[in-house]
Symmetry: C2
């Protein structure tokens, strides 16, 4: 079968490797690049090339960072007596967007998953323990996802932090705001009931 | 609002400018790049940068090409007595995939569109006329899309090529193979009726 010129086929193949982009979308995107202002295409290519050269992990919390410390760890107005433990930088962003939290973070880099061969040493768990030990007192909020693996990871972290002088909490599970009880899955309803709190608290 | 480190935000913004990619997808793609093998990310960035540097338009038919001539214009086995006029290189690929055609192509680069300010001089129309004049005899297949603008462009090209010693044809309009008459729109059914041909032809 006839194919596009090799540089174009190469871009199509590279796009196809990205998540959620099938052969048709990859072709559409690549053909769009052929019609864009060459300056803009160059800008896209350079942004991609610069990405991994310029971004590193924050020395303290492993958030994506330009410098040695990420903007949150560097911010003197943050509450240093609380650490939210999350799986990924995108989870940190979700909590930041909520506007509910002024403490620090710790990016685990994933969840424990024996099935996928992810163990203690593959996550930033030792660094978390060291941080919490150094912190002395305060709160560690385990904010891994409410999945089987996220729950198991939170449970594991709780056991690892046991004995240290911090309060360990888990983010609340329940009905999403604005959702319909009738349409919620039974596990969520069960968790929402179990987590019920006195009114006016 | 807190944002990701600037190089990451930059990639997100670049992705957002692509068609069919919203803010959420752009973020998902950019975060995926952070988890990919850095070699693969570099390969993607370089493919994008090389694209517009390496691909040019075929001197004869304006198809995307690595060299002066595209693989089709260069191919000595193609039938040089037929030229299919299409809007874009992707239309050429669609015809090639059908396996029905062994002639040459001419990429217009779009359709006439007074509304979008696309006129005669914005398309490769003069080059088409010169090619057809040089060809002497043969067939010009007007294969612009069966849209209002595609039809109008085909009609315009027919009038421009009038008087030259070539047969001018338009690709057939009708029911798509495997489709259901019952579900076809009325314009398509009308065209299919108007285009009816004797059985066994």
């Amino acid at each position: 079968m006839l194919r596009y010129a090799p540089p174009l086929e190469r871009v199509i193949q590279e796009f196809e490797r990205l998540p959620g982009i099938g052969p048709k979308s990859a072709q559409r995107l690549a053909l769009h690049l052929m019609k864009m202002d060459p300056q803009d295409v160059q800008s896209l290519g350079e942004a991609v090339l610069d990405l991994r050269r310029e971004i590193r992990e924050c020395r303290v919390c492993f958030n994506y960072s330009l410098g040695d410390l990420c903007p949150i760890c560097e911010d003197p107005t943050r509450d240093t007596s609380a650490i939210s433990v999350v799986e990924q930088p995108s989870d940190l962003m979700a909590i930041e967007r909520s506007g509910e939290y002024r403490g620090l973070y710790h990016i685990l880099g994933g969840v424990l998953s024996p099935l996928h061969g992810v163990g203690h040493e593959d996550l930033h768990i030792d660094e978390l323990i060291a941080r919490v030990e150094a912190m002395g007192s305060g709160e560690v909020i385990l904010a891994t996802s409410p999945t089987v693996e996220g729950d198991a990871t939170a449970e594991y972290l709780r056991s690892m932090l046991d004995g240290l002088d911090v309060t360990i909490t888990r983010i609340a599970l329940g009905l999403p705001v604005g959702s319909d009880l009738d349409y919620a899955d039974q596990v969520t309803v069960a968790r929402a009931l179990r987590g019920r709190r006195p009114m006016g608290e």
